[in-house]
Symmetry: C2
Subunit: 238 residues, 2 copies
DNA sequence: AGAGCCAATATTGCATGCAATTAATCCCGA
DNA sequence: TCGGGATTAATTGCATGCAATATTGGCTCT
């Protein structure tokens, strides 16, 4: 089982569409989150420039964006290095996500439109289908979508933005726990309760269910990651 | 009363220190948050380049950073425009800040060191002194510092980062309510309770106090901003 | 006069070159 | 053989020029 491949989108060598800056930003971001660029390593501009067949200008613009996203660190006159995530860093982010979902849950229960709830419910069904078919990748993506859609249903643009950003940072680690069959089954069950609470618009319950869901998910994920860490002898990092 | 001058640091025309990119980023950010660059207006690269006496390269890097911060919006082949904040946008951010402080408060009550609590308590005393001296500017800065320090005391780097970012986005609007003398007095009183709750490490109480503090603060701020909006005939925006 | 189209102008996106800074290499002495 | 310092190489930061795109102004036609 390759952890690395779980959430990485297929890295097709597509031609740059839109601005080169946007293209290279997305491309380098993928290279980091997929582990292609090793955490802690320096990023050589020239190598990347040749590899992506663009000039240094858009690459350096991408660096500035990715630094702001917290994926790389730029030291003036030295260069960019891939940020190393420790287990505690991920846990800290999870804690933030829980806090964001807490407020999102209550607001979503109040403000969600029936259409939004129906869409989430529909996503849930498709996620269950993916689970039953054993399609981990599909499950992950729908899962992520459900959580974001619940947040979006709170109708708070700032919340949606911050949540999405923080989510993206730790995407790879979040669902590692579901590799455990028992945990995965349990997660699906929890999601059923989450959907029901949303349909009944029970804010406090929804909030608590989401909190417990994340705590349980992260506990399992952390265990799995620590096992992998022990096996590979490397620190967990994106 | 110039709203614009409240939080704007003295815009000294200092020489660029560090990289030009960092200098120009900070400079343009100040120009936006101070209102020098009008919300909704297009930003002309050439004008800014001449004004700041740098080339387009570092300016364009700054644009990418500021876009990521949500201060400007870049349309490819068209240019950068200053993002317009509506009242609801600010309110949404406040809601996020409340959510972040909620989780921060409980963790801070658990994890804060005695030194951190002492530092916050000290800041509080200095803030009260600024209040009694009627120094609004000083009060604002210390106030902001206190809130950030409480968050920092949660010992969650992700939380500290996200909080600081969101705080910066709406800095100008947050304390507008304190221009009302009565509200200002009340805010100081609330801060006293906040400090006491932290010293006694009463997490849930601290959390609720902070929530109420922000709600009351924003209610007053919103009222003040809407009055200003009516007076100037312009939408509230940074 | 007003709408639509075309040319002229302005502005952006990107590549490249040069200077400044840092990292790597080599040489020398202990 | 190992450490320290100077020289060389590599890398970064920035300015600038050119091509591509969007905007503006003017013109024609209805």
């Amino acid at each position: 089982m390759q952890f690395r491949d779980m959430t990485a989108d297929t890295p097709t060598l597509e031609a740059p569409r839109g601005t080169r800056s946007a293209f290279v930003t997305e491309r380098v971001r993928d290279m980091i989150t997929s582990g292609q660029l090793e955490p802690g390593s320096r990023i050589n501009e020239r190598v990347l420039v040749e590899q992506l067949n663009i000039s240094r200008t858009p690459l350096r613009e991408a660096f500035k964006i990715l630094e702001r996203e917290g994926l790389i660190s730029i030291r003036p006159n030295v260069g960019a290095t891939v940020v190393v995530f420790t287990m505690d860093d991920v846990e800290a982010s999870i804690e933030v996500l829980i806090g964001l979902e807490s407020i999102g849950a209550e607001r979503a229960a109040e403000r969600a439109t029936e259409a939004e709830i129906a869409e989430i419910s529909d996503l849930h069904d498709r996620m269950v289908a993916a689970f039953e078919a054993g399609e981990l990748m599909t499950y992950f993506h729908i899962n992520q979508d459900i959580h974001q859609k619940i947040i979006d249903a709170a109708h708070n643009p700032a919340l949606s933005r911050v949540y999405a950003e923080e989510c993206a940072r730790i995407r790879r680690f979040r669902f590692a726990g579901n590799r455990d069959e028992a945990r995965w089954t349990r997660a699906v069950h929890e999601h059923e309760q989450i959907r029901d609470a949303l349909i009944r618009r029970e804010g406090p319950l929804l909030r608590e269910l989401l909190r417990a869901h994340h705590v349980a998910g992260w506990t399992a994920a952390r265990r799995a990651l620590e096992a992998e860490e022990a096996a590979t002898g490397r620190a967990v990092a994106q």
